[in-house]
């Protein structure tokens, strides 16, 4: 099982959009795919029309009283299941803190799912916390959406540094530009400059497009309702790069 995590310390950079579309694309290729919505806001859960509720809440989940398997919901798409968010996830840090070996706990919880799923995508909340550390230990690849702006790039450097100093096993990082507005010179220049400087950047560039925002009212991945859009093409390219990297 390949574990991918969409992660960034900043919020609103396109983590959930990427997670939802990549999960759909992985499933469409015949891979049994599970998306775990770790964000208490439950955006991915909302997009798949699933009720954001986990029986017993986060405490029971982290303590192992509720098995992950029993919480999984089938989506409306072939091969794609969802582990929904729950508002109690806002206290996941506290629950992990009380667990033994808190940073290994998420990886332990995921282990039994490896027999059933080939791809697991973790949609992470925007923070640096015990949850993030747990995700770093569990994930093979960290997918980092990057808005082409100075502060965002600074945050990415912080993240890279954080991962480099995290305990092993450490995930590899694959960043990709997200919310790129090609009308803005700063965005164009940043994409060109940073793209030439860094080797951990995907070639796929996800545009800032209203069609991506349409995912909210339609409650569908953009690759489903607008497969010919530039955003859908970007997610397809991103999936190809992620898959090739994971299989390398």
């Amino acid at each position: 099982m390949r574990v991918l995590a969409t992660y960034n310390i900043k919020g609103g950079v396109g983590k959930t959009s990427a997670a939802v579309n990549l999960a759909y694309l992985a499933a469409q290729e015949g891979r049994r795919t599970l998306l775990w919505d770790l964000d208490p806001q439950g955006a991915a859960t909302f997009l798949f029309r699933v009720r954001p509720r986990v029986r017993g809440g986060v405490k029971a989940l982290i303590r192992g009283r509720t098995s992950l398997d029993a919480l999984i919901k089938g989506t409306d798409f072939d091969n794609l299941d969802l582990l929904p968010a729950d508002f109690s996830y806002r206290t996941m840090d506290l629950a992990l803190d009380r667990a033994k070996r808190p940073t290994r706990r998420i990886a332990q919880l995921l282990k039994p799912l490896a027999a059933e799923y080939q791809v697991l995508i973790l949609d992470c909340p925007p923070s640096v916390s015990l949850v993030s550390e747990g995700v770093l230990r569990a994930a093979d690849t960290l997918l980092v959406p990057l808005v082409p702006a100075t502060l965002s790039l600074r945050t990415f450097d912080q993240l890279t540094d954080f991962v480099a100093h995290a305990r092993r096993p450490r995930p590899r990082i694959l960043a990709f530009f997200s919310l790129v507005d090609s009308r803005k010179r700063l965005h164009r220049d940043t994409v060109a400059r940073v793209g030439a400087e860094r080797s951990d950047l995907a070639r796929a560039i996800v545009p800032a497009a209203s069609i991506v925002e349409q995912m909210g009212p339609r409650r569908l991945p953009v690759v489903v309702f607008s497969p010919k859009s530039a955003a859908a093409a970007a997610y397809r390219q991103l999936w190809t790069e992620v898959r090739d990297l994971a299989e390398r």
Partner: protein, 540 residues
């Protein structure tokens, strides 16, 4: 208690409006547009998927979207699903056989199938076309909680299967309660009855087929009191049937196993006549022995080339090495094409037809009374005739093996291998007459020894062949040094395998020839109070 069936059948078409109305009383139901579904099921010629409890189907996915490959277990539960490639390359150029790699895209489904299907082609079993309508039970957020798929056969399928319909409840994970509720609702509707297996059983029956209707295994159930001549005739008849069933696959070149099974049948028949033929009229046997030798020889060039190509696959002709070896593989491919053409000519020749005719006559005709003593031997019960011959063949094999030393030439091991094959065939012919516990033990030891001898001899032949092919390619010109070097490395890999097999020989032979196995052989041939039929556990 088994779970209630999620599938229902009706003898007549069901009104979608009535079904919606019946469900709609208690549930929120969304109806998808009508669509045409083409179901097509696949298995190998020898039903490997069926034997593994798997059903491979190409059809619309459970959600009614594009064409998918669906792998189900024998209860119809969906195990894996993958998108079907838009166009497939056939194994033979014809439309009726598919390589696994062509039919199933890379991914978990192909990985799951590869270990079961191995080198066999996937053949379509049956096709059904139906008109399908999906009813989705949804919640207030329009999230699907369960589905009912209603299918009615159309066109030719309707004419063969009749006008009825089938309803299948498809659960959504995490909402099992909704599916159970639907099952209860449907069970209460008039005109519906619980069903299972979908369209496949009916479609197969319509074609006059049933799962497992071919196996290369002997599956002979002989009675100890049967006259020896009748027992040998039954063996010859079964072998003829296997040979004839495989011939179309050999002619169409669907996969390499058709030829393999044909050759094994011919070889088994030769052994049966060599070791048991004296119970039949000598004249008939002599003619057929000649025929069988010719039949075996005819199939050898193609099989040898198959073996070389499969061995190259096994040594992993990939990447740079694969590119360097490609001219050699192409050379072998061309050779194989020529050999296959010659084989097809032979299989279609009057001589082949005459040989089959003689084989059939020997297997089915009443043996004529002759003066050569065959009538007397043939009239004895097989339970008396067969066991001493098994014991004798074992003793001969043991003596041959005991004479083999570190310095013995490869030909000595080959001679032992041939004797072991004869012993294996005899054991399998008369499995139903033998004591099962020692039978399984002896067969196990014998198989281990045969694997070792087979590996050694195959490597011996392949090394010599690579060398001979290299000479021919050199003489023809145009082959790069890199290709010759890659061939050399391939020959080295084969030599290494051969060395390993030779190193294993002493230990395996010791197990085959030791006191315990000898005792088991003696127990094999003890008179049994009530012989039990036994499945043939494999083939060499």
């Amino acid at each position: 208690m088994p779970p209630p069936s999620r599938e229902f059948a009706a003898d007549a078409a069901i009104s979608h409006a009535l079904l919606t109305a019946a469900l709609g009383v208690r549930l929120r139901v969304a109806t998808e547009p009508l669509r045409t579904v083409r179901h097509e099921w696949f298995d190998t010629f020898d039903w490997r998927l069926d034997r593994a409890g798997l059903i491979l189907e190409r059809a619309s996915g459970p959600h009614g979207d594009r064409t998918h490959l669906l792998l189900r277990d024998s209860s119809g539960e969906l195990l894996l699903l993958a998108p079907a490639p838009p166009a497939v390359i056939t194994a033979s150029g014809g439309p009726e056989a598919f390589l696994l790699e062509a039919l199933v895209p890379a991914g978990p489904l192909r990985d799951r199938l590869a270990g079961v299907v191995q080198i066999r082609a996937l053949l379509p079993l049956a096709r059904v076309t139906a008109q399908a309508c999906t009813f989705r039970v949804v919640d207030a957020q329009a999230k699907t909680l369960a589905r009912i798929v209603v299918e009615e056969p159309t066109g030719r399928s309707r004419r063969s299967l009749g006008p009825g319909c089938r309803l299948r409840v498809v659960p959504v994970r995490g909402y099992q309660g909704q599916a159970d509720r639907l099952v209860r609702l449907l069970a209460g509707l008039p005109g519906l009855r619980p069903s299972s297996g979908g369209w496949l059983p009916g479609a197969l029956e319509e074609l006059g087929r049933r799962p497992g209707d071919y196996t290369g295994q002997l599956q002979l159930s002989l009675a100890a009191t049967m006259p020896a001549s009748a027992a040998v005739q039954a063996i010859m008849a079964r072998l003829l049937s296997v040979a004839e069933r495989n011939m179309p696959g050999v002619l169409a070149d669907l996969d390499t196993e058709f030829l393999h099974d044909l050759r094994v049948s011919v070889r088994r028949a030769r052994t049966a006549l060599k070791l048991m033929g004296d119970v039949l009229p000598a004249g008939d046997v002599v003619h057929l022995v000649g025929d069988l030798k010719w039949m075996g020889d005819l199939t050898t060039p193609t099989r040898d080339l198959d073996a070389y190509l499969l061995a190259m696959d096994a040594t992993g002709a990939e990447g740079t090495r694969g590119a360097e070896l490609k001219p050699f593989l192409d050379f072998l491919g061309v050779r194989r094409q020529l050999a296959q053409r010659a084989l097809v000519r032979g299989l279609r020749s009057p001589r082949w037809a005459r040989a089959l005719q003689r084989w059939r006559a020997l297997a089915t005709d009443e043996p004529e009374v002759t003066k050569d003593g065959a009538a007397a031997a043939g009239g004895r019960p097989i339970g008396e005739v067969a066991p001493p011959r098994i014991a004798r063949t074992y003793r001969r094999a043991r003596r041959l093996g005991e004479a083999i030393t570190e310095a013995s030439p490869a030909t000595d091991l080959h001679a032992l291998r041939k004797r072991c094959k004869e012993l294996r065939y005899l054991l399998e012919f008369f499995a139903s007459l033998l004591n099962q516990r020692p039978y399984r033990t002896v067969l196990g030891q014998l198989k281990e020894l045969q694997d070792c001898l087979g590996e050694f001899q195959d490597a011996q032949v392949q090394r010599a062949a690579v060398s001979a092919f290299a000479d021919e390619m050199l003489a023809a010109g145009g082959t790069s040094a890199a290709t010759f070097m890659a061939m050399g490395r391939a020959a080295d890999a084969v030599e290494s395998r051969q060395g390993q097999a030779r190193a294993q020989f002493a230990e395996r032979f010791e197990r085959f020839a030791n006191k315990r196995t000898r005792r088991n052989v003696a127990d094999l041939t003890m008179a049994q109070p009530a012989p039990q039929p036994s499945p043939d556990p494999g083939r060499p």
